[in-house]
Symmetry: C2
Subunit: 228 residues, 2 copies
Amino acid sequence: MPTYKYPRPVVAVDCVVFGWNESGLHVLLVKREKDPFAGKWSLPGGFVKENEKTGETAERVLKTKGGLKNVFFEQLYTFSNTDRDPRGWIISVAHYALVGLTTEMQEQQKETAGSDWVHVHALPRLAFDHREIIDTAVVRLKNKVRYAPIGFELLPDKFTMRQLQQLYEDILDTTIDKRNFQKKLAGMKLLRATGQKQQGVAHKPAQLFCFDDKKYKELGKKGFHFEL
Amino acid sequence: MPTYKYPRPVVAVDCVVFGWNESGLHVLLVKREKDPFAGKWSLPGGFVKENEKTGETAERVLKTKGGLKNVFFEQLYTFSNTDRDPRGWIISVAHYALVGLTTEMQEQQKETAGSDWVHVHALPRLAFDHREIIDTAVVRLKNKVRYAPIGFELLPDKFTMRQLQQLYEDILDTTIDKRNFQKKLAGMKLLRATGQKQQGVAHKPAQLFCFDDKKYKELGKKGFHFEL
DNA sequence: CCACTTTGTGTAGAAAATACACGAAGTGGC
DNA sequence: GCCACTTCGTGTATTTTCTACACAAAGTGG
């Protein structure tokens, strides 16, 4: 744009990566190496490059800072307070991502020394306006999980009804009646029983289900609307 | 940010301004004077200035291009396709706004020659990716109007039940039973009867109501959740 | 084989959503 | 002045959805 002579902002992408396991909902944080805020925890992020759209920047950040590929993510909000970064005029197009947290992933991050999964209710002080970004993402997640089937992105491919219910209880911060919950989910016909059962638990093992993506898309065309 | 040596995008704000009256839901369009797309219809927009956050840019655009002050608006989505503007790398932080359309406003825009209120179902071909932006805004409006009391922003301060219902029917593209609708709204206790009646209509005049913002905020604190 | 934990399942009552019709109020035309 | 026309304002019965609640069966660990 040769005729545009005014100052331009730097544009960055920050990612709120949510990971869930049975001990709760977590966020991936990375420790800053450089100033400003050297040594402080922050969200994984990076600058948008030329010939890259912000979604591609987010993919790149997820891969390089979190080792994550092919995970669900979505644009969240664009933060543009002029004083949000002491280095100057930096606008951040925040995204959020959802992944199932495995114990391997948690240990891997610990080895990386400089990144960690932190429980959403135990966040440390964060660099920049990253706390505000996380709060915004939590609100979005709470709302969206009720009218879109994105909760499944936080679970392993095969999961028990109990895990699904616990997930919803964690996110929505409520308790749900087991029978009513199962009735509702059964009514939607979005879960497919795998026939497999939980292994290595000291009690009656639960069936494993998976989310039926094809079915969801079919039903979507017929005007079906997920709601919990 | 002195250490950042890479190319930077230009950042713009485009606004989808929705205006409703009894003939339907409209969008404010402006005719482009300059190339690219000279003579084509487009959304009102502008570049983000230094020391300005995108919300402030939106306010400025609404005022200068639409003559609108103190209207409801909200960030929508950030569009960053690298080929969205032939002039170069321009990212747009789209916003949407809601206003009640009066006949004066419509005539005023016609005089301005170069801007017009167009029915959402009769949009012309638009410059850039502005059609995609409008489509995104319509989806957002359809969703949000159901779980947040933003529909009132599209009505005059005092309105009849019928207008409110028609508004919802227009946006959600359904028909609603009059008695059930009124029962539901009455149950929420968010409407205050003004005691006034419609004037100059050739039939039994309807009561005029207004939205009780204070009440809504009070109820919000008590965990009330608007839903239609 | 006993103790422990978690699974899997049905029903009755309460609350909410839906479907539906007619007399009353006001204007405009004759 | 009165008739035609249009829209307002209101209640009830039926169906559907939501909620609350308990116990036998499956499997592990000691």
